[in-house]
Amino acid sequence: MSILVNKDTKVIVQGFTGKEGTFHAEQCLAYGTQIVGGVTPNKGGQTHLGKPVFNTVQEAIDATDATVSMIFVPPAFVGDAVMEAADAGIELAVIITEGAPVRDMMMAKAYAVKNGMKTIGPNCPGIITAEECKIGIMPGMVFKKGNVGLISKSGTLTYEGANQVCNVGYGITTAVGIGGDPIIGLSYIQLLKMFEEDPQTEAIVMIGEIGGDLEIQAATYIKENVTKPVVAFIAGQTAPKGKRMGHAGAIISGSAGTAAEKMEALEKAGVAVVKSPAEIGEKVKEVLSK
């Protein structure tokens, strides 16, 4: 079992024939992901990586029955691409592109929600169900199949966390990089719920960072709804106030959004909070061997 995607998930790629889209679609195919086609306007009818190219998402769905779209279009076109996917009936859009304007995402997210389409990202590494389906840019070999679900705002911390979990002898069910932008799709609460309901997942690793209050909302949710052990790390304990730390959303505004307040809220909710990402693996081992 897993959440959201598995070996049977049919995926199309928006921005299929571009440099990034091509490179990563190839990697996903090599991993075993069922990429059934792609969309690049004006290139409909061509074949790319052995898969059909369509002009619109609607044509792609009609021909392939895809339910998930992996989006690699340039930042200025992300909003449009997400709305097109929602309009055509895609169930989950995984938005990898970095640098999409906030206003566009605000509109696109609202439209996606209205149409019942889930989104992941933007500016994220994507989603991977270990040894079944990779939709995104993460290094597949890091994720061994196992019983730990992982949710992270950061790409490389996703790999770091998963690597440690595997090094201590466990593995991953599904790992989701939710992205560090101010407006994101699926977030901790929805994913915690899915992992709580997934029989294969026995523990959850949650990696957050400074900025916003998603982790605090998650803490409240965990306290009331999550029975499985949760291990958390919040990046940016040493970050200065008012400075954007790489990710567009990673900023302490005034005195809100600090790592300390998030860690405190999670600890109060019974989460095993580690102070360094170097301790994620050992902590997972500890909670799972109880």
Partner: protein, 389 residues
């Protein structure tokens, strides 16, 4: 990106948000000329820097004659203004704004900012104008009226009424205020702003509303479609090291410690800083080399980190995903030839082809390159090296 008050007011004016008349000046003579052109009997001389609290720091003063304008302009231009937002080192004032005096009956606050939880812009208004809004939020939150605007429907009359009646405005002023707020919402949306603050928003004796101050920040990701706003960038307000890093696709923030960090990915970069702190050291910087970490970007990273004289060791922490570690190891070796790296460099490479990478570094046998097995080990070694151990 942030802009100056005078620039924000230029944008306001285009959208019909009322502002006092004013002109920016770069010299005392220009300031005097501006005051004469504006006319009237009272002028305000305002330092233009990217920080709040200018008034308290002595950067905003009232002049009652042209001679006084001259006097204040020469006092403020070239001063180092220290406010609660500039840090103790303050900021050099290189331009001033000369503005006509306003007839102030009351001071309000009005701002627009993204509410990340609601995923929509929220307009905030308060009767406590002129005060620091964060202080108001902490001490008397009931005095801030917040109205979130669903961007798919846009600003409606009811949004305006909630704000105006919430502020307790008399009925003859409600319509004027709603018009003001509607215009400000358009400024926010159409320019891809990330923040607008008008503090204070002045109510005049005649019952009109005027933006006496103006602060604007923008979504950096959207600047590409606003060349007019990009042109307002004041590079003297930006950190030169951060700017240079940006040119090479690196994201850099200087901190106060002595352990330099070079990491791929923003989250892992912060996690690395936290780990250095956790094992008893202090990070000297945040540096995300991005996804590629080529010899050129790594060399540039070394160069920027080493410009900080506090740096006593550098921790290179890379989790190679799609980018293979052996290529990164070669990049690091190449970079040490391009830049004189005179402090110990602790290298931790994990992920794809990590074993090959370790072999490459070992065979290169460079005296000040120390390899580490994992994140915790690397942080400990980097902290020890910075302490001279």
């Amino acid at each position: 990106m942030n802009i100056h008050e005078y620039q924000a007011k230029e944008i306001f004016a285009k959208y019909g948000v009322p502002t006092p008349k004013g002109k920016v000046a770069f010299s005392v003579e220009e300031a005097v000329q501006n005051a004469k052109e504006l006319g009237g009997k009272i002028w305000v001389v305002k330092a233009q820097i990217h920080a709040g609290g200018r008034g308290l720091g002595g950067g905003v003063k009232l002049a009652k004659s042209i001679d006084e304008v001259r006097e204040l302009a020469s006092e403020i231009l070239g001063m180092t203004l220290v406010t609660h937002q500039t840090g103790p080192q303050g900021k050099l004032v290189q331009k001033i704004y000369i503005e006509e005096g306003a007839d102030i009956a009351d001071e309000l606050y009005l701002g627009v900012v993204l509410d990340r939880a609601k995923e929509m812009p929220v307009i905030m208004a308060s009767t406590e104008g002129g005060m620091e809004i964060e202080k108001v939020a902490a001490e008397t939150p009931e005095k801030i009226i917040k109205v979130a605007v669903d961007p798919t429907i846009g600003f409606q009359g009811f949004h305006g009424r909630k704000l105006a009646f919430g502020l307790g405005l008399p009925k003859e002023q409600v319509g004027k205020f709603i018009k003001f707020a509607a215009a400000l919402y358009r400024v926010y949306m159409e320019n891809d702003a990330s923040l607008i603050e008008i503090n204070p928003l002045v109510k005049t004796g005649a019952g009109d509303f005027i933006a006496l101050d103006g602060k604007m920040g923008f979504d950096d990701s959207a600047l590409g479609r606003h060349p007019d706003i990009e042109a307002m960038r004041d590079i003297s307000e930006e950190d030169p090291a951060e700017m240079e890093a940006g040119k090479y696709g690196l994201s850099y923030v200087k901190l106060d410690g002595n352990v330099g960090c070079m990491v791929n990915g923003a989250g892992l970069a912060m996690g690395t800083m936290d780990t250095i702190n956790y094992v008893g050291g202090e990070p000297a910087n945040f540096l995300d080399v991005g996804g590629t970490a080529s010899a050129e970007t790594v060399a540039k990273g070394f160069e920027i980190i080493l410009r900080d004289p506090n740096v006593k060791s550098i921790f290179v922490n890379i989790f190679g995903g799609i980018v293979r570690c052996d290529r990164i190891a070669n990049g690091i070796l190449e970079a040490t030839k391009l830049v004189d790296v005179h402090v110990p460099v602790i290298v931790r490479l994990d992920g794809t082809n990590a074993a090959e990478a370790a072999e490459i570094l070992k065979n290169a046998n460079i005296s000040n390159v120390i390899t580490a097995s994992d994140l915790g080990d690397g942080a400990k070694k980097a902290v020890a090296a910075a302490k001279g151990e």
